[in-house]
Symmetry: C2
Subunit: 227 residues, 2 copies
DNA sequence: CTGATTTGTGTACAAATAACACAAAAATCA
DNA sequence: TGATTTTTGTGTTATTTGTACACAAATCAG
């Protein structure tokens, strides 16, 4: 019998804001199945586009959002995960900065929104499962690759990084030791500017120097533990 | 236009023998395209089987082999990677013990064989790329998860483990420090039996205790670095 | 001007890792 | 059967890395 399987992509896009914590973009489905349920953005891959192109297109169409970091997460292909057809879905994992936080202009979805990962609504299909895998990846990965910076503004006060790590790995970390460790990695630039937000002493701004990161990585500074 | 994409699976199965080093199972293709080229075992997913079932079936049909460890590797979906159809391939990563090393009874392939990863023939499709990703995963993963044991006999002399790590991470490791580290993880059992192979003092046998490994992992003995 | 809030910074101790060499058991060869 | 070669087995010290810990500086709010 001829193969009758469809291929889709789904995206778990994370964002972070101090007030909100870690959130994910969801869309409200316009059509059956799971009409009006919340779901991960995604859809069928077109014949002539790559998987990554498909994800970016769907994110644009359904949520009006651009991610600044995107990697493949995992593929889900259990028969029966979509009630109608056999669908194999390649899930992606994306990160956006606070700047790009605003969602807009959804044509293919009834609604779009950010949802804190601790207060998720019921999700369509097996999307809860996909989300769980993505959260695990985020937590795991932030500990040994510098992807946390993708969730912050390009220039940020050090305390933002501290707080992000605390929220994600929910432990209390010692501010002094944390800073020592991060700075010793050698790819975080200290700027001359400062920023002031609310009360307290103004904070210096820092910037992740991606070029330097790759240089150091090349030179065999083993991509060991990071935090 | 209707979606016209096929879904396949491919498998990178690693084996290890002292004389041979690290090898991978390849099959010689019976049909076009790439007729008579060497390729990774794999094929189209059937409508009613899971991805993992498809991999195991293909490995059985094409190479007559059972793997004792299998995990999803990555999905490859670039348009044009198969000259005829658009094919999205979900690649898997498998490990076999020396016992299960023998290949057999290929019905769907013209030939099957083990190839040392340093002496690979030209491969069909983008299989060279898939293999590279798999090797990277193997090297990366062996350093922080106990999958090396899946490449050894169930009971093995400690030196086998040493040598495996040396071949994979090609560095000289200090035998004493390596042993201390592995033993301190607490899930390697020292047996009373010994084995003698060629010259030299007989070696004690060891066994990986998977149950204990998961217990310790549960208890939060952070699945930190391993080697 | 006072109190609250946030940023910024160094040192001492503990723990983990790395460096290092020789003896014991068996096989092989003379 | 004795000497040589091969492989396994084991402990201590030095170095590096990680952890614990507290108070001053700069600004805002009242």
């Amino acid at each position: 019998m001829k193969q009758d399987i469809k291929v889709s992509v789904d995206a778990v896009v994370f964002g972070y804001r101090q007030d909100d914590g870690i959130s994910v973009v969801l869309i409200k489905r316009k059509y059956e199945p799971f009409q009006k349920s919340w779901a991960l953005p995604g859809g069928l891959v077109l014949n002539d586009e790559s998987l990554e192109e498909a994800v970016r297109r769907e994110l644009q169409e359904e949520a009006g959002i651009d991610v600044n970091y995107l990697e493949q997460l995992y593929s889900f292909g259990q028969p029966g995960r979509d009630p109608r057809n056999r669908v194999v879905s390649v899930a992606y994992f994306g990160l956006v900065r606070p700047d790009d936080y605003q969602l807009s202009a959804q044509t293919d979805a009834e609604d779009v929104g950010w949802f804190n990962i601790k207060k998720m609504p019921k999700l369509a299909f097996d999307h809860k499962h996909i989300l769980d895998v993505a959260i695990k990846r985020l937590r795991g990965k932030i500990a040994y690759e510098p992807i946390g910076f993708e969730l912050l503004d390009k220039e940020f006060p050090f305390s933002d990084l501290e707080k992000l790590y605390q929220v994600l790995l929910d432990n209390d970390l010692d501010r002094r030791n944390f800073k020592k460790r991060i700075m010793s990695l050698g790819f975080l630039e200290e700027l001359d500017e400062t920023i002031q937000r609310g009360a307290g002493r103004p904070a210096r701004l820092y910037r992740f120097n991606r070029k330097k990161y790759f240089e150091l990585k090349e030179k065999g500074y083993n991509s060991d533990l990071f935090y």
